[in-house]
Amino acid sequence: MSTLIEAVGLTKSFGATVALDSLDLVTETGSVVALLGPNGAGKTTFVRSLATLVRPDRGTLRLAGIDVARDPAGVRRQIGLAGQHAAVEPALTGGENLVLVGRLFGLSRRASRAQAAAVLQSLGLADAADRPTKTYSGGMRRRLDLGASLVGRPRLLLLDEPTTGLDPASRIELWDTIRALVSNGTDVLLTTQYLEEADQLADRIVIIDHGRVVADGTPDSLKQQAGRDVIEVHPRFAADLDSARDALASLTSDEPRLDAANRRITITVADGSQQLADAIRLLDARHIAVDDIGMRRPSLDEVFLGLVGNAQTAQHTATTNPILEGASS
């Protein structure tokens, strides 16, 4: 293992908006790193800086030891970018799109064709190779876009919200594709707003917010970092939600979280087993009927919300199926 990405004090503003606020991040080769954060956290700006599409105002950024500001052309030889759009030409066939990228990567005509065919084969698009891309489904187009970033056999694959806007089936398909690539030893830096995506694909999750790293670790260590248990209560009657919340408030130093749609209250506590008993007693004292009560380890969502602590984000990511939100960019 050696250092792959090295960002020190990376800062970038767009007008009054600070996208990157003195961000520090070092990653090693041989890993899949997910940058996780809400909209506007600076994820895309970081990826675009690495892809030499954005020039940071301050700080240094190196990829495999190459300084992005000093030798952007050198960096471009090392990366493959698949952005938020399916950046393929609809009028060209899948094969032609990939051959074009191969040519622009400096491969010979013959090598471009061979490489395009190999990529299409590996992505399950061989049958659609000679069809214009405009006839592809959304998921196929995204896979082709991913393919375009692979033609040059990059050292680092940059995936900026690779599954945003895809339906659940296409999303899972794309995850499988990315996993297959990863198993082959390609390093990946991906950004996502979906905790599940980060949990599924990454060895390491870097949570960023307001242009800074707010947490960093494996999915498990992040869950542990929160270090506390969660008690979840489902009152039988919706009318009891408020009084149940008031009853449980004494057990936690945080605000209890009330999810009216799912008739659920969650609190984070220091000692789950002890305080579960307390919770039952408190609810019973108020004669609140309970369908279900239980204790569990915090989900990555809760860790994320605790760290980002953004009310709007909380609303978004707390829904059980973020996929249904559709494209959010």
Binding site: L53, R76, Q78, A87, L100, Q115, V119, G124, L156
Partner: protein, 277 residues
């Protein structure tokens, strides 16, 4: 389907140093993509041809009767001016195409590849100039069909056409810049409105002498008039002398200087704006 996904060794990261693509090779590849897009999206060409044919017919048959052109029939006055000015209307298609590529992420993909960024612009300029030649050729054909006749030699006529293409190539940089600055297709369409004052306040459709004095000052000294006058002089030969008042050589020379100025002025700005990250 996904169960069969495998990643063969040919996709494994290749960390040997790659040279990237040369300026010429990448320009040709990018121009090739745009040309293929035109060929396979016939509506792009058809809209351009229908639009220019329609306006030519409107000027010829609707406005023509009301516009006095001393010493030359209106159709002979109109067609060379119309073809030269049409270069600008075709140019708006470039701005929109460039903006679409930026909006859809295609430009970002190209800019993240190991090739000169200049190629993205040069490839677009080449392909769009080829499209321009096609549309102008059709417009010239329609011009002949509605009664236009060359006043000089065929060679002069060919030179007039070639001059329009040179003008188009020189202006490509300006239209690409508009597309880059606007960032999305709708805004590009809006910014491209700038071609209306340039084409209408020129000698393309009416004699400049018919305009109010203050407007003549602009109309006489702007590049579209310069270009139109040179094309008109080549296309009409001696017949144009009365309205142009200068020799063909002088007019063509002046128009080429303008082309050089436009290209030299806008190309560096466009390239710099495009390179800037």
């Amino acid at each position: 389907m996904t169960a069969t996904i495998t990643a063969p060794s040919s996709l494994r990261a290749d960390t040997t140093t790659r040279a990237g693509s040369s300026l010429v090779a990448s320009t040709v590849a990018i121009a090739g993509r745009t040309v293929r897009k035109f060929v396979r999206t016939p509506q792009l060409i058809v809209i351009g041809i229908v639009q220019s044919t329609m306006f030519l017919l409107i000027f010829r048959y609707v406005f023509g009767g009301a516009i006095g052109t001393p010493g030359v029939s209106y159709v002979n006055f109109l067609v060379p001016g119309f073809v030269a000015a049409n270069v600008l209307f075709c140019g708006t298609g470039t701005s929109v195409g460039v903006a679409e590529d930026m909006e859809g992420g295609f430009t970002d993909r190209l800019r993240s590849l190991p090739m000169p960024r200049m190629s993205v612009i040069a490839g677009r300029a080449l392909a769009d100039t080829a499209l321009l030649a096609l549309i102008l050729a059709v417009t010239v054909g329609v011009g002949f069909a509605v009664g236009f006749r060359l006043g000089g030699s065929v060679l002069d006529g060919v030179a007039a056409f070639a001059l329009c293409i040179v003008f188009g190539f020189a202006l490509e940089w300006f239209f690409i810049l508009l597309g880059v600055l606007s960032g999305n297709a709708q805004a590009a369409q809006g910014m491209a409105m700038v071609v209306f004052p340039l084409t209408f306040v020129s000698s393309a459709y009416v004699p400049v002498a018919s305009m109010p004095g203050w407007m003549q000052a602009f109309a006489r000294n702007q590049p579209v008039t310069t270009m139109v006058d040179a094309v008109r002089s080549l296309a009409l030969g001696d017949r144009a002398d009365a309205i142009l008042g200068h020799s063909t050589g002088y007019l063509v020379g002046r128009s080429l200087i303008w082309c050089a100025v436009l290209a030299a002025g806008f190309a560096p700005i466009t390239v710099a704006r495009f390179r800037r990250v």
